[in-house]
């Protein structure tokens, strides 16, 4: 295994930031219930939907760290499973911030997906 720890940390950071990106997009999406224009604007200061903007910014930042992490000599077989950890973070944040319950279906589905991403990583050179 030749992937440096620094590359693993970069990808973990990307997964962590990305999982919070999802949280902010979810929080910002609630504004849409008032109408489509609330995709951009907001009634209270700062008068724009800053949660959505923050979510998008976090996705961009996450992909930046991801690209830094998967540069050579980073190996996808090691790094892809760490991306999948982001899904597990998201399960936790969803419960903490939005009171979404853990269910057997979610845990089983997530487990299959994480193992699947691990295998796609193993098969990638």
């Amino acid at each position: 295994m030749t992937t440096p720890v620094s590359h693993m940390l970069l990808v973990l950071l990307a997964a962590f930031i990305g999982s919070f990106g999802g949280v902010f997009l979810k929080a910002g999406s609630a504004e849409l219930r008032k109408g489509w224009m609330y995709l951009v604007i907001a009634k209270e200061p700062p008068f724009f939907n800053w949660r959505l903007a923050a979510g998008v910014a976090m996705f961009l930042l996450s992909s930046y760290f991801f690209v830094l992490g998967i540069r050579p000599p980073g190996e996808l077989s090691v790094l892809y499973p760490m991306v999948a950890l982001g899904y597990i973070f998201t399960l936790l944040w969803s419960r903490i911030f939005f009171k979404e319950p853990f269910t057997r279906g979610k845990v089983l589905g997530l487990f299959l997906i994480v193992v699947g991403v691990f295998f796609v990583g193993l098969g990638s050179k």
Binding site: G22, K26, G35, L91, R95, L110, I113, G116
Partner: protein, 132 residues
């Protein structure tokens, strides 16, 4: 702009529980197409500066698809659970693997195939049984 009460009631009452998963499904196809476009744009990049990127049509098309995909994700999140929808994004791996095989002739090996089958099964479990 006017009559927001009736409007918002209609939007928030939209029941269709499957719809958010279907929207994220579309997201992943758009996201995969975006990645393939960006890859082919990066393959024939004339000059790597900012102007070269803006003049690069496939690259810009890729970014635009990413934008549309994010918009769909937000609309899906309005009515769906984050914990259910976020992992579905992993379907992007499946489409990228298939598209890379079709377009760039990348190899599909038993590991990738196993991974794809597991991801699809996982998404199916999330989509069906995740609600309770």
């Amino acid at each position: 702009m006017s009559a927001p009460a009736a409007d918002s009631a209609r939007i928030s009452d939209a029941p269709a529980r499957r719809q958010p998963v279907g929207l994220v499904f579309c997201c992943t196809i758009l996201g995969a197409a975006a990645q393939v476009l960006m890859k082919s744009g990066a393959n024939h990049m004339a000059n790597p500066g900012l102007l070269g990127m803006i003049a690069n049509l496939p690259l810009m098309a890729g970014y635009s698809l990413y934008g549309i995909s994010t918009l769909l994700l937000v609309i899906a999140l309005k009515d769906g659970e984050l914990s259910l929808l976020y992992p579905v994004i992993a379907l992007t791996y499946v489409w990228v693997t298939v598209l890379s095989f079709l377009i760039f002739r990348d190899h599909i090996n038993p590991f990738k195939l196993t991974g794809i089958v597991l991801i699809v099964t996982g998404v199916a479990v999330l989509g069906k049984g995740g609600r309770r």
